[in-house]
Amino acid sequence: MTGATRRLPWLGLAILVGAVLLIPPLFLARYGLYIMSMWAVMTIAAIGLNLTLGYAGQVSLAQGAFVGIGAYCAGILTTSFGWNGIATIPVAIVLCFAIGWLLGYPALRVQHHYLAFVTLAFSTLAFLVFRNEEWLTKGIYGIENIHRPTVFGMRTAKPLPFYFFCLGTLATMSAMAWWVVRSPWGRAFVALRENPVRALSLGVDVRRYTLVAFAIGSAFGGVSGVLYALLVQFVEPPAFGLALSLNILMMVIVGGSGTFFGPYLGTMIAVLLPEWLRLTTRLGQLVPEDSTWHARVVHWLDLPNQYYLILYSIFVIVLIAYSPKGILGFVEAKIADRRTRQASTLRVAAAPTLLGEDRP
């Protein structure tokens, strides 16, 4: 197979994905566009966590907090100071980069589940600030009336233009993530994840790369937060609790931690699946309440409303049990497997000549 023919299926896939992202939204109603925008917004946060966790191997349960910081940045600056929503993005990036850098320091001392606890504590801390510092965040009342910005002369108040704004931002952030991952930094991140002691002995400044990994991942969270605030047009503390951090972690792991496109897929599943599975709610409601005992049990457990969560949970359990590296990790392993088998077939076929060259 030549390089060109090998790339053909990927090119086809790229065109298909592009078409799905660009064409159906033109015909979708408000709610459909909201869901697709939410996918783009959450994907940015998941890409960030994937850099920190998937590539550099630093466990973080604080990505939701950075989304919150970004969202409050946008909320406060647009409502109290009349900023354009776009202008808040650089502020959120700088702020989250700095705070993420500081959060990296504990990671220099503790790893794995201990680090998870440290970041969990930070997540709680951020939540308390959002809720209690009323002078800044308006506390439990939240910040309302966040206006969507005008981007390059295009007003994004309507769902469709705003969706394209989200998609454009996602594309920009994806390009940045791609650049980082393919640069020598990406290689150093993987080294950090796989074997920090060995990395150190190869001159890799483990300390600085750890901090940078946290900072970059957090900055992505901040950008996601700004878009979140502009999409929902309302920010309140509970949206950025631990549940969000866990959700983003789930997106990364389900899609394939440490694979570039994992977060896109994982977020799609986390955002869209509940919407599709909501259909099962209607199935549940079809059972008349006074009929059989099992209908009563179903009703008593409120199963109709929980169906999609149950199915989603079972899916996640089965997936992680069979493929800890997520969906794309599974696919990648299969591809690598096939390639290795092809290569060894070729090698066996070429073996006599090789031996002839090596040992005349």
Partner: protein, 247 residues
């Protein structure tokens, strides 16, 4: 002859146990020095003290005449000392080529240049050449984790030479490697030494391997230097035969 490494009166204590006891030796440019000794004689601890993995309790380490005692492993590495570990340490998820590039990429430029510079950090050619030298061409794009143990050992050794080091410390390069692969490894290390003037120190249990590869040998026993000299003189040294070679 230039002294690349000079270790003077190095000691390391762990809570009253003396793992390395007043050890002094030197390594000249272009030589292969072997360090042998029974299990627990302090060989790896000595390595770790030289390489900054552990802080020595007493003594000095000089690299090209410059004091480097207590420098961090990353700093020492950038000053030109590279190493392999006793247990195999390649990065399994990176390809062979990526492993080699990683082994040298931090030696040039700053962080920012590395982010915005070329993807191979300008090391693509060096890596390709090193891969060819260690006869790993057909494996260059495979993930290192998928290689056989012996092949990974070759990659591990190749990584140590990537940055053009002044000195390479190999901790049991022959451990667990099958005989055919061992011959390859020995052949490549010797070629590295003869053709490129690489200087290295080898810790090894495999006597044949050490005796045939090294130009000079230091014998450790209970943390002390028991003897040093050419392989021939070591083979005949009564103290060494008593303590170690024995039967």
């Amino acid at each position: 002859m230039t002294r690349v490494l000079e270790v003077a009166n190095l000691s390391k204590h762990f809570w009253g146990i003396t793992a390395v006891d007043d050890v002094s030796f030197h390594v000249d440019a272009g030589e292969i020095l072997g360090i042998i000794g029974p299990n627990g004689s302090g060989k790896s601890t000595l390595f770790n003290c030289i390489l900054g993995q552990l802080a020595p309790s007493r003594g000095e380490v000089r690299l090209d005449g410059r004091m480097v005692t207590g420098r961090s492993p990353a700093e020492l590495n950038r000053l030109g000392v590279s190493r392999t570990f006793q247990l195999l340490q390649v990065f399994p998820e990176l390809s062979v080529r990526e492993n080699l590039i990683l082994a040298a990429q931090e030696h040039r430029g700053g962080m920012i240049e590395r982010l915005f510079g070329p993807r191979d950090a300008g090391l693509g050619d060096t890596a390709a050449e090193m891969i060819a030298f260690f006869k790993l061409d057909h494996l260059a794009r495979e993930k290192a984790g998928g290689l056989s143990y012996g092949q990974q050992k070759l990659v591990d050794a190749a990584m140590a030479f990537m940055a053009g080091p002044r000195l390479v410390l190999l901790d049991e390069p022959a451990g667990g490697v099958n005989l055919t692969m061992l011959a390859d490894l020995q052949d490549r290390l010797r070629a590295m030494n003869r053709e490129r003037g690489a200087t290295f120190v080898v810790i090894e249990h495999n006597m044949d391997f050490v005796m045939s590869l090294c130009s000079r040998i230091v014998v450790l026993a209970e943390g002390k230097v028991l003897a040093q000299g050419t392989p021939e003189s070591i083979r005949r040294d009564p103290a060494v035969i008593d303590a170690y070679l024995g039967h």
